[in-house]
Amino acid sequence: MAKSNISFNKFYKLFNLFSILLVFISILLLLFKGLNYGVDFKGGTLIELRSTDKQITISKLRESLLNMDIGDVSVKQFGNKDDYLIKFEKKSKNANFISEIKNDLSKYLGSGFNFRRVEDVGPKVSAELLKSGIIAIGLSLAAMLFYIWIRFEWQFSLGAIFALLHDVLITLGVFSMFNLEINLSIIAAILTIVGYSMNDTVVIFDRVRENLRKFSDIKIFELTNISINETLSRTIITSITTLLALMSIYFFGGEVLKGFSLAMILGVIFGTYSSIYIANPILVFFKVSQKTILKDDKD
């Protein structure tokens, strides 16, 4: 790849406005529309059902479930056309209500189906899972902030954190907008996004720091642009290989990993973008210069 010389810095302001807008919309969506929590975080019961009988249709399934006294039921096709996902909230006191549902269903539909997966999460556990998920994300952001602060300077640390928050908020915003389900694996995906976005930011920051040492006369506005360009081919190649891996999970990894890989794909795209257009403008904003890094630069 020939050495690139793209004026990324010309568009700092434009893309910052764009990002602010996206983050703002995401926050509005999160506040007013909220997230579509799965059984992990909301509690309730999930049944993945596979039918071997062509007579069983989604409407028949829904009808038979509504005849049972289990409250609000949602039935959805899940990947394969013979697979259905049944979700309901009502928590029966009876420990064996799942086998009761199975019995009742076979009364209506015959025996041409089986339960492939059952998840039943009580309200106490789901509240705990949600809490530990939020703590995990908060903790990882704090740990990153701290790590970058030690390895670089506080201005870099702030730049990286804003980029991370940007990625996490927009990813959650997309999930809210399209009503995609948030479950435990999405939390894992978000934490990995945090790691990936950080990874990307660090590589550019590392170059910014090196260039700051090398050139004392170039303003940070120009310097960030040079650094972005110097690392650009790496940024693109790594994004491509990571996306190739993620796409193969998304398309071939089965239904269970779809949400997880989608969150990661979004995260990689926004993570790459934010390392350039969020992290760097913040260095410009704080007027980082050679003096900033020379204070305790002895290593």
């Binding site: 050495k3 420990a95 064996n96 799942i98 086998s99 089986n114 339960f115 492939r116 997966r117 059952v118 998840e119 039943d120 999460v121 009580g122 106490k124 556990v125 530990s132 703590i135 995990a136 990882s140 990153m144 790590y147 435990l184 694996s185 939390i187 894992a188 934490l191 990995t192 945090v194 790691g195 990936y196 950080m198 990874n199 990307d200 660090v202 590589v203 590392d206 170059r207 110097e230 690392t231 790496r234 190649i237 790594t238 290989t241 990571t242 996306l243 190739l244 891996a245 993620l246 796409m247 193969s248 999970i249 071939f252 990894g253 089965g254 269970v256 990993l257 997880f260 890989s261 990661m264």
Partner: protein, 518 residues
């Protein structure tokens, strides 16, 4: 950075070969394998059930409180201390009033480290009960540590009973573990319908033998209990003749005369004696066999039963008799258990997940490999070799620790493939830059490695931080993801800084006179 000593090359090769063999040993089918280690499949891949049980400690706490209350009253009577308004409030504290002369004495009694009524835990530096005194009114509550002690002891008891019950069901390698101080985690590989286990764990299994009475009104010593089969109720004496503690064995059997399924039981010596005495006195009465507050059956006593053997009939099917006997053998739980989380995966879904996971891994792997080869040619090849070895190392380490592989864990491996090339890309791109100003290829390559080191390390450490946090906060499948992601970082660093660098060094030194290598 391009110089490798002979010993170093040897160590790198040895390490790589060792873990490659470990990795491959997963796929061999020889029984007499020297390396007898294999990666465990998580419940989501092999199918199975995961149950999280919570102990309802309220009855245990209340019972403990009642025992303490009886002890206190007995002490007061023995020592002629006057007390009034003695009561248990809200099932959680004891309250009473004493005369002001005894006030100090009683306070000292409860605060004495050697008293038996209010034990002192030296490891916590606290008593079981906390004292709250206003004038002559005493109020006793369980202290924080008192509650912890009670919960721990009931958890340990429950764990033992749960283990026994599950072992008796005979499922494949069950896992029964403590979680916190009032929860038990049960993992049952291969069992996709945990109905029977849930039924067995849902019963406290408090067994007692008590006589039914013919009174028509409830009196002080009787209570009204329902029959298990729904055929009405009866008054039962509160006096317990025998409890499940005296049971040595219980087995389902076929009664030859009636062709009915029964449960026969054997009592221990003390139990047999007591049982013999009670039955010889109570000929003609109905003896109730009561489990968890319900009458299973109430046969009329015809003869004294002296040998310590008896049988229970109660409209059993063979299955229910087997389970009933199992519950009697394994003993009573100290408190009821509630199932607060349940996840089951059928074996066919597990197999599907493995298939699609592995398929995605192969596709992702080839896409990345082809991309790298076209981008970097000979160095792409080197990168690819180090990527393949990276995967083998990762699987090898997972095998060495007999780690559990979950579906998100497979996703973690695929992600490692995608991100592992990053380090090589960073280095190769840097080398390209260096060759623009440095004509000596060896120096240029050396500089490239040297200067990209910090970026590679920093980039990987940040991902490692995320993986570590996931490991400690996540559970089950997510933990599996964090393990593969975390180990993947170490194998990536190894394969990049040792394997790929060694291969690069060998190639560059051989071709140092060529104009442009990369």
């Amino acid at each position: 950075m391009l110089y490798f000593s002979k010993t170093r090359i040897f160590l790198i090769s040895l390490f790589t070969i060792l873990f490659t063999i470990l990795a491959i040993s997963n796929f061999t089918k020889f029984e007499d394998n020297i390396i007898n280690k294999k990666i465990n499949l998580g419940l989501d891949l092999q199918g199975g059930s995961y149950l999280l049980l919570e102990i309802d400690n309220k009855p245990v706490i209340l019972q403990k409180l009642q025992i303490t209350a009886t002890q206190i009253k007995k002490y007061f009577r023995n020592n002629k201390i006057f007390f009034k308004n003695f009561s248990i409030i809200d099932d959680q504290s004891i309250s009473f009033e004493v005369n002001s002369i005894d006030n100090e004495k009683i306070k000292n009694l409860f605060e004495d480290k050697n008293n038996i009524i209010n034990p002192y835990y030296s490891q916590y530096r606290a008593h079981q009960l906390e004292l709250d005194i206003s004038e002559n009114n005493f109020r006793l509550n369980f202290s924080k540590y008192g509650l912890i002690e009670i919960k721990n002891s009931s958890l340990n008891q429950a764990l033992e009973i749960v283990r026994r019950r599950i072992d008796e069901v005979g499922t494949n390698e069950p896992n029964v573990l403590k979680r916190g101080n009032d929860r038990i985690l049960v993992e049952l590989p291969g069992l996709d319908d945990p109905m029977r286990v849930k039924k067995l764990l849902g019963k406290t299994a408090n067994l007692s033998f008590r006589f039914l009475t013919n009174d028509s009104e409830i009196t002080f010593g009787t209570e009204r209990l329902l029959f298990e089969d729904g055929s009405g109720d009866s008054l039962v004496s509160k006096r317990i003749i025998l409890s499940g503690d005296n049971l040595l064995d219980a087995q389902p059997k076929m009664d030859n005369q009636t062709n009915e399924t029964i449960v026969s039981f054997t009592l221990d010596r003390v139990g047999a004696k007591r049982f013999g005495k009670a039955t010889s006195r109570g000929i003609g009465k109905r003896l109730g066999i009561i489990l968890d507050g319900k009458i299973i059956s109430a046969p009329v006593v015809r003869d004294a039963i002296l040998g310590g053997n008896g049988q229970i009939s109660g409209n059993f099917t063979f299955q229910s008799a087997t389970d009933f006997a199992l519950l009697l053998r394994s003993g009573a739980l100290p408190a009821p258990l509630n199932i607060i989380e349940e996840r089951s995966v059928g074996p066919d879904l597990g197999q599907d997940s493995i298939n699609s996971g592995v398929f995605a891994l192969i596709i992702g792997f080839f896409l990345v490999i082809i991309f790298m080869f076209f981008k970097y040619r000979i160095f792409g090849l080197i990168g690819n070799i180090s990527l393949i070895l990276n995967l083998l190392l990762l699987v090898g380490i997972l095998t060495l620790f007999e780690a559990t592989l979950t579906l998100p864990g497979i996703a973690g491996i695929i992600l490692t493939v995608g991100m592992a090339v990053d380090a090589n890309v960073l280095i190769f791109e840097r080398i390209k830059e260096e060759t623009e100003t440095e004509k000596n290829q060896i120096i240029a390559f050396d500089n490239g490695y040297q200067k990209s080191k910090t970026a590679v390390l920093d980039a990987n450490i940040t991902t490692l931080i995320a993986a570590i946090i996931l490991f400690f906060m996540g559970s089950g499948p997510i933990k599996g993801f964090s393990i593969t992601l975390g180990i993947g970082i170490f194998t990536t660093l190894f394969s990049v800084f040792f394997i790929a660098r060694l291969l690069t060094a060998l190639y560059v030194i051989k071709n140092k006179n060529k104009e442009k290598l990369i």
